[in-house]
């Protein structure tokens, strides 16, 4: 929609940060974007982004990923957004805003969301080269560039929330990092002395140097004018190449001051409970630039959002007010949980503390309790698990004693107070102000049955995300309470989990699916045909345990053929037009020139599209089902075997060339990768398994992104587990170090068999490791320390697998009955499927997609031969 200026009322928003964007969304929700012309002036060169997550730029999030602005939204609502064009002056008498570019906008309503600016203490040389602030993406880009080219040491002025983030970022950039904090402890606003001590210990353990109780007196510069150090108030001098000022922020109210709006003594545009400026009813101020009606400037995003909603509602002539906000926060700083809520510092009269402190473990928990037992607030450092529940209980008398709320569970009396104990009016999501009652309503009235549905319905959990865990517990509790049994069963056919079915199959040596279904399936599923979920899952369990339970090790044998997913059934990967791709195993990625030539000749002779895969092998696409046996006959003749690219099984073990060729290599990584790939080939598992072996710490094989990854050390091998690439990347965790060849293989045997035994269907090792109780420590206990006494069994199961492995393609091409299945048409074995066609692209083939639609007449017959 494009409105003619003057014809419809105009809202001008100055500032497009997180709060500004939220204000626009609130306008749209209330239909105001349809009735008003909306103009946004944004100073930064990019539209609103997630400033709270700014530091995640250094862990790989791009500025694009940080963006909070959906340009479709801006366009669909006809919002005129001018980036890189800040408002310069406001003429309130004429109701006009002039932007830096010279554009002039008349307004009916003006909304100031100018945010704040970093406070830089007025010390000499504060603007020297090498001094930075930490506020915008541009600041981060500048810090990154300077750190990479000109700095080895960095210091952060300010040990608050942002200061710690900045220090972590500097450390991540490879700098020796210092934090200089004027107050006697870190995060003085959020935590007390005890919490600060716990935090200090953890931060120092990470290799950061903390100087508390000292101020910065001067920035020392060299002859070229660049930073070389800083003088501190205790007389010492700290050598540093780079300084980041992160000593708090101040409201950006200059535009308001210049236009004669009232500002507070210590800054902030004075507004009333509707977020309207006290000076001019046509002007509003929201977010960090506003001095709210309760006399505070709020630097957190949740109150800013609430102000944005309030202003939008007021403009729409709805009733709303902002009278103050909860300053509770929960953060993960440098990997440490820090939370404070309610009256964290115990300022109420007569209040009492309950404190649990374990500085060795970096734990500190304090609750502030009123005389009558009311929970008033608290601080959690190192473990903020209970934050969601405790914050919601604030203001009431908890149903169990306060000390049991802070003691660790293993201390005996520690009680886990679930969110079901909360009253309905307790706020679960403070970003969106969603109460427990609303969430319960989403389940009972709106029939939401999953957390994603509840998030969509209520918006809860879509802000900072810190309440999602409590949300999940509430949804489960509510479903259970309303009689919806939360079924943990594998599918509609089995009430057991995959792990339970594995145990049944192994213990009772059940080796057919039908037997398992008829004896252990749900009542109404027995005697039936099962479903597409449990058949492959049980097929996989039977295949993993085949030699032990007396089943055939060949996945297409007898009943097993009917259980396999379509890909496994044809031992190839189905592509979108019904053709298949073929991947021969290339162990460790090592292949002879003759091997390459064979693959090349086969691909050429069958007209296949070839592509190098990420797992160091070659994928051949475009094979018709009837061509698969012909292709594989030639591959098997040349010594290739199945690569199991179609299976939930071991895929590849990548490698770098290692010690044999590389100047840096310390072990023979190729040999180890080949050994591992040949050992575990054909092993069926809950999901695919990927691995890699790197010959030195440079990690060229990317082993830490694999289900099990091996990195050479001068003393042997380090084993990492639970890594993942793909949509949710996860770095693998170190399981054990400096292993010999035999120790390494024994440990991987145990690890894989323990995973196969206990994982859910389609659960990669990364999610499994995060899910199972006790996580990595538990897995280490089981597979390294043998805490369950099952390692011998795990090893023997793997030994059975290794001893009985046979290449399933070699078996298939020697079995006429199985080969008969590889036809497009059972009644016309020589006729290819006419829907499978190809067209040329870049010298190879690609699927002829129009063919999939042209011949598509499912209900009416027409001859088309």
């Amino acid at each position: 929609m494009t409105a003619t200026p003057g014809a419809t009322p105009t809202i001008v928003l100055v500032g497009h940060g997180m709060v500004g964007q939220r204000f626009l969304e609130a306008l749209a929700e209330r239909g105001l974007t349809a009735t008003h012309r909306v103009v946004v002036l944004c100073e930064e060169p990019r539209p609103a982004y997630d400033r709270v997550q700014l530091t995640s730029y250094f862990s790989g999030r791009t500025p694009e990923e940080l963006s909070m602005t959906d340009m479709e939204f801006i366009k669909d609502h006809g919002i005129e957004l001018y980036v890189g064009d800040p408002a310069e002056t406001v003429d309130r008498a004429a109701k006009k805003v002039t932007a830096k570019s010279g554009q002039v906008f008349e307004y009916d309503t003006l909304v100031l969301a100018t945010g704040s600016y970093p406070f830089v203490p007025p010390v000499p040389n504060k603007d020297a080269e090498g001094c930075f602030v930490y506020r915008t993406i541009e600041d981060l880009l500048a810090i990154e560039e300077y750190a990479k080219s000109r700095a080895t040491t960095g210091a952060v002025v300010g040990g608050g929330l942002l200061g710690l983030e900045a220090a972590g970022a500097l450390k991540g950039l490879g700098l020796t990092s210092h934090i200089v904090e004027f107050a006697p402890r870190l995060m003085p606003v959020q935590v007390d002395e005890g919490g600060g001590a716990a935090l200090l210990r953890t931060i120092e353990d990470m290799g950061l140097t903390v100087h508390t109780g000292v101020g910065t007196q001067e920035i020392v510069v060299g002859e070229d004018g660049a930073v070389t150090g800083m003088k501190l108030s205790d007389g010492s001098e700290l050598a540093t190449d780079l300084v980041v000022f992160s000593a708090g922020v101040r409201p950006r109210d200059q535009l308001a001051r210049d236009s004669g709006l009232t500002v507070g003594e210590r800054g902030g545009i004075t507004v009333d409970e509707q977020c309207r400026t006290v000076t001019d009813p046509h002007v509003f101020a929201i977010g960090e630039c506003a001095l709210a009606a309760d006399g505070r400037v709020y630097g957190l995003v949740a109150p800013g959002y609430e102000q944005a909603e309030t202003a939008a509602a007021t403009i729409a002539a709805d009733e709303a007010s902002f009278t103050g906000a909860d300053l509770s926060t929960k953060l993960k700083l440098l990997g440490v949980d820090v939370a404070s809520f309610g009256d964290a510092h115990g300022t109420a009269e007569d209040c009492l503390d309950v404190v649990y402190s374990d500085s060795r473990a970096g734990l500190y928990k304090k609750l502030v309790i009123g005389r009558d037992g009311t929970l008033l607030g608290g601080i959690l450092v190192g473990d903020a698990e209970a934050y969601g529940t405790l914050r919601a209980l604030t203001g009431s008398v908890p149903p169990i004693s306060p000390e049991s709320l802070v003691l660790p569970a293993q201390a005996g009396s520690g009680a886990q107070l679930g969110p079901s104990a909360l009253p309905d009016e307790a706020i679960i999501c403070s970003c969106h102000n969603v109460s427990k009652g609303t969430i319960r309503g989403a389940v009972t009235e709106h029939r939401c049955t999953t957390v994603p549905e509840v998030k969509k319905c209520t918006k809860a959990g879509t802000g900072c995300g810190s309440c999602v865990k409590v949300l999940g517990q509430l949804v489960t509790a509510e479903l259970e309470a309303s009689g919806v049994e939360v079924d943990k069963g594998l599918c509609g056919c089995f009430s057991q989990t995959r792990e339970e079915l594995y145990e049944i199959v192994l213990a009772l040596r059940i080796n057919t699916y039908q037997d398992l279904l008829d004896r252990y399936g749900r009542e109404d599923a027995r005697g039936g045909d099962g479903c597409e979920t449990c058949k492959p899952a049980v097929g996989s369990i039977i295949a993993s345990l085949a030699p032990t339970i007396g089943a055939s090790g060949y996945v297409l044998d007898g009943e097993q053929a009917a259980l396999q997913d379509s890909n496994d059934h044809f031992l190839a990967n189905l592509q979108k037009n019904g053709s298949y791709s073929v991947v021969p195993r290339i162990p460790g990625g090592e292949i002879t020139p003759d091997g390459l030539i064979v693959i090349g000749e086969i691909a050429r002779d069958f007209g296949l599209y070839t592509k190098i895969t990420g797992g160091q092998r070659i994928d051949m696409f475009g094979a018709r089902v009837e061509q698969l046996p012909l292709i594989w006959t030639r591959l098997v003749d040349a010594g290739f075997e199945s690569g199991h690219a179609y299976g939930k099984a071991l895929r590849t073990v990548k490698s770098c060339v290692g010690r044999t060729w590389c100047r840096y290599g310390v072990q023979d990584s190729v040999r180890m990768a080949i050994d591992l790939e040949l050992r575990y080939r054909g092993l069926r598992s809950p999901h695919k398994l990927k691995s890699a072996v790197s010959g030195c710490a440079r990690e060229c094989a990317e082993a830490q992104s694999k289900d099990f990854g091996v990195i050479a050390t001068s003393n042997g091998w380090n084993l990492y587990v639970g890594g993942n690439g793909g949509a949710t990347p996860r770095h693998a965790d170190l399981l054990a170090q400096d292993l010999t060849d035999a120790e390494l293989i024994r440990l991987i045997d145990r690890f894989l068999m323990f995973y196969i035994r206990t994982a859910d269907r389609l659960e990669r090792t990364s999610t499994w490791l995060e899910r199972i109780p006790g996580g990595l420590d538990h897995v280490r206990d089981v597979v390294v320390e043998d805490s369950l006494g099952i390692c011998e069994e795990l090893e023997s199961l793997m030994a059975d697998h290794v001893a009985h492995y046979a290449d399933e393609w070699a078996t298939t091409i020697n079995d006429p009955e199985k080969l008969a299945r590889f036809v497009s048409f059972v009644n016309a074995p020589d006729t290819p499927d006419p829907v499978v066609g190809f067209v040329p692209e870049r010298g190879q083939i690609k699927p002829d997609l129009p063919l999939l639609t042209i011949g598509h007449r499912p209900l009416e017959g027409s001859a088309q031969r």
Partner: protein, 117 residues
């Protein structure tokens, strides 16, 4: 078009629109729980399935969502007492007796009457 060689086994037959019964293949070619594809005289493709009790079903072989002729390669099962196949492309399920898609009520594929002779 080459037809499968004659045997003494039972034959699977499909009823076409003109009430003719069309012979597809020998019964033993079907593994219980899996399907095969057959080419009809008019060029259409049909997916024929056999469940664990020996009952036979025939539906159109084309996946109406993806367009490829692959329904015969899907996994079969029982949902609320009714037999279905899940497409190997994007897993939508189709009722084997009626051709009705169980995941999108506006989609249905042709279903055929099947017998052994």
């Amino acid at each position: 078009m080459t037809l499968a060689p004659e045997t003494t086994d039972l034959k699977i037959q499909l009823r076409l629109e003109d009430d003719d019964w069309f012979t597809v293949c020998d019964l033993h070619r079907l593994v219980p729980g899996r399907g095969v594809a057959a080419l009809l005289p008019d060029g259409r493709q049909v997916a024929v399935f056999r469940d664990r009790t020996g009952r036979l079903y025939g539906i159109d072989n084309r996946d109406p969502f993806g367009g490829a002729a692959v329904l015969s390669r899907g996994l079969t099962g029982t949902h609320q007492g009714r037999p279905f196949v899940a497409s190997p492309l994007l897993k939508q399920r189709f009722d084997l007796e009626t051709g009705q898609c169980l995941d999108d009520e506006s989609v249905r594929v042709a279903a055929y009457e099947v017998r052994t002779q």
